[in-house]
Amino acid sequence: MSKQSFLCVGGAALAGAAFLMLAGIPYGVSSPSNVRNIVLSPLFWPYVLAGILAFGGAGLVLTAFRLPPGARDERLSDVPGGWARLGAIAVIMLAYVMTISTLGMVWTSIVAIVAVAFLMQAKRPLLTAVVAVAAPLLLYAFFAHVAGVGVPQGELVRLP
């Protein structure tokens, strides 16, 4: 049990509940005007859940204040270069989703494997290159020709 994690999770839950009650539900959920009973309204369930979320968040914040300042939570401790690598993989993920329809899933996946392997400090470049080409091609063969999925081909090079 770490005071820090209780405070962060509780605070986030309270903020989330406040957002839902003040903006998310009023603007994101529509209800017909002729609903006679409040419990049958499409708004009822989200409001109940937001209320319980606020209750849980408040409970966690209160628990955090009553907890002794214990040892540091190992899960929250930093690793050298960790945040930079996470930032890089966030960019890779974004680029992956954005380029699939243009480059095709196979070619994007090849680049993604090489980039992620580099981030994970892979030691064998030749093996990495072989796997980066073979794995997406094998997956393409299975999903396109066995499972009948229309794998995006992209606009540059088309596969059989």
Binding site: M1, V9, A13, L20, G24, G28, V29, S30, P32, V35, N37, V39, L40, P42, W45, P46, L49, A50, I52, G56, G57, G59, L60, T63, L67, P68, G70, R75, L76, V79, G82, R85, L86, M93, Y96, V97, I100, S101, M105, S109, A112, I113, V114, V116, A117, L119, M120, Q121, A122, R124, V131, A135, P136, L139, F142, F143, A147, G148, V149, V151
Partner: protein
């Protein structure tokens, strides 16, 4: 359809080359995935799910069940050889398995782990066959109020026992329930959090959420700390488990299996608590209790029988009530849904052939596990040598292909990545992901049964207390909350006491 007819129809489904290959292949994939530290049985089942789309329902489900069974056993191999449990369920196996490996008896420990796992698996499967049908026939009389209270109880216990705090579990479950409200309203068809985006009209894709929550965070963890998964594997040593060892531990194995069956049939408890309870019971009753923790073979037998005893039993609430007992069965429920099947009491009437086919397949999986496990123990060194920095990028691409294959929609890949970041943050802050996923699956059912009850009663909440079954589940829910809150208070007062001294 009589019982014999159902069994015959089930046998006809299972006794085909396709089904048997799926089962054996599933066990093999599961053992390998479970044996790789950083991969888990859950992740393996989640990644296998997209491959079942092109299969018949029974073949696909048998493949997933095979991966599940193999994965739980596979986790014991690195637990014994490199002191790193492949799955959380194998944590108790480390206590005596690794000291045995240090003494040069790794082969003996792994052999006992395999024999205990197969025995427990068989006992658990028999329990499933005996009790699931009985429970389903009882559940046929359930109406919406009964189902509402049952699901509420399941969510309470899952939220309560999954993490280090009931409140964190509660928040996780509420987040899952909230995410399940995205899409068109169940009764009026109006918009709920979909902002007129056609991609969100049908709600978020279950498989994108599931793979995002359980596979992507592992990849992000590996990126966060690439050196975190390294370990030195020990050799198997000269000895192998003997018939005499097995006979000496047999009572412990049966006890552990029964503990696994009982805990596994309660939604949410899972394999790790069963393994630890079985281990502590074995230590309490053993003549060699002083040797526990120092390399006692009975300790390995106890923990492995405890965690494998859960495997068949978790399917009892899934098949009989439509409520997943843990995360893996939540994924398996997804496979049922993908193939147009709804687990629950009605499935015993409408799809008895698939139910009995599954029962027979489970028995065959125990036998397959025995042979594949024997080979896998000897081949572990090859599995341990797979570079993680190469494996995880391939897993990432596998996730992308798998999620895309569900609806041929790139939007789902974005959902998966977003859920991956949510899962990673949950992992860092100690918020359990299991209540999130199970609540996401059960959310529509919970709301649907609640609103149906309200429609039946004209809005009166009295219907939720209409008979002994609803009272029974309300009672269990209150008991669970009180028990978990008391346990939490005890931990906190212990912490305060430690601080004072």
């Amino acid at each position: 359809m009589s019982l014999m007819d159902s069994f015959a129809a089930g046998l006809a489904l299972v006794w085909s080359l396709e089904s048997l290959l799926a089962l054996v292949g599933g066990v093999l994939v599961g053992v390998i995935a479970g044996a790789i530290p950083g991969m888990s049985a859950t992740m393996a089942v989640a990644l296998t799910l997209p491959f079942t789309f092109a299969m018949t329902p029974i073949t696909g489900i048998l493949l997933l069940v095979g991966v599940y069974k193999g994965g739980i056993f596979g986790g014991s191999i690195p637990a014994i050889l490199i002191k790193t449990p492949g799955t959380p369920a194998s944590s108790a196996t480390v206590l005596d398995g690794y000291p045995m490996a240090e003494k040069g008896q790794a082969g003996r420990a792994l052999g006992m782990a395999l024999w205990a796992s197969c025995t427990a698996d068989l006992i658990s499967n028999l329990a499933l066959i005996l009790f699931a049908g009985w429970l389903a026939s009882f559940a046929l009389s359930f109406g919406p109020p009964e189902f509402f209270t049952l699901i509420l109880f399941s969510l309470t216990i899952i939220a309560g026992v999954s993490g280090d705090s009931l409140l964190k579990g509660l928040i996780s479950a509420i987040m899952g329930l909230l995410l399940a409200t995205v899409g068109l309203d169940l009764v009026y068809g109006t918009n709920r959090f979909n902002f007129n985006d056609p991609n969100l009209m049908g709600g978020l894709n279950f498989i994108a959420v599931l793979i995002g929550l359980f596979a992507i965070p592992e990849i992000l963890t590996m990126v966060w700390n690439p050196k975190g998964q390294e370990g030195q594997a020990r050799g198997l040593g000269g000895g192998w488990v003997t018939w005499l060892d097995y006979r000496r531990c047999f009572k412990t194995i049966v006890r552990g299996s029964l503990i696994g069956v009982v805990l596994g049939s309660i939604p949410g408890i899972g394999a790790a608590p069963a393994a630890f309870l079985s281990y502590s019971e074995a230590r309490r009753k053993s003549k060699n209790r002083d040797n526990f923790g120092k390399g006692e073979i009975e300790g390995v037998a106890a923990s492995e029988s405890g965690n494998n005893g859960v495997a068949g039993a978790t399917l009892i609430p899934l098949l009989a009530l439509g409520v997943p007992g843990d995360v893996i069965t939540a994924i398996i429920i997804g496979a049922f849904m993908v193939h147009g099947l709804q687990p629950g009491p009605m499935m015993f009437v409408a799809n008895a052939d698939i139910i009995y086919g599954l029962f027979l397949g489970l028995i065959i999986s125990s036998i397959a596990l025995f042979f594949i496990g024997t080979v896998a123990i000897r081949g572990f060194r090859f599995v341990a040598d797979i570079p993680k920095a190469l494996l995880f990028p391939v897993v990432l691409v596998l996730c992308v292909y798998g999620v895309f294959a569900v609806n041929n929609n790139i939007f789902d890949i974005g959902v998966m990545f977003a859920m991956g970041w949510v899962g990673f943050m949950m992992l860092r802050f100690g918020v359990p992901a299991a209540p999130f996923l199970i609540a996401f699956i059960l959310g529509p059912l919970l709301e649907d049964n609640f609103r149906q009850s309200m429609l039946m009663s004209g809005g009166s909440p009295e219907i939720l207390f209409r008979g002994p079954i609803t009272w029974f589940f309300w009672g269990l829910t209150v008991l669970t909350v009180v028990a978990i809150a008391r346990a939490g208070l005890r931990v906190r007062s212990k912490l305060l006491e430690e601080k004072r001294t």
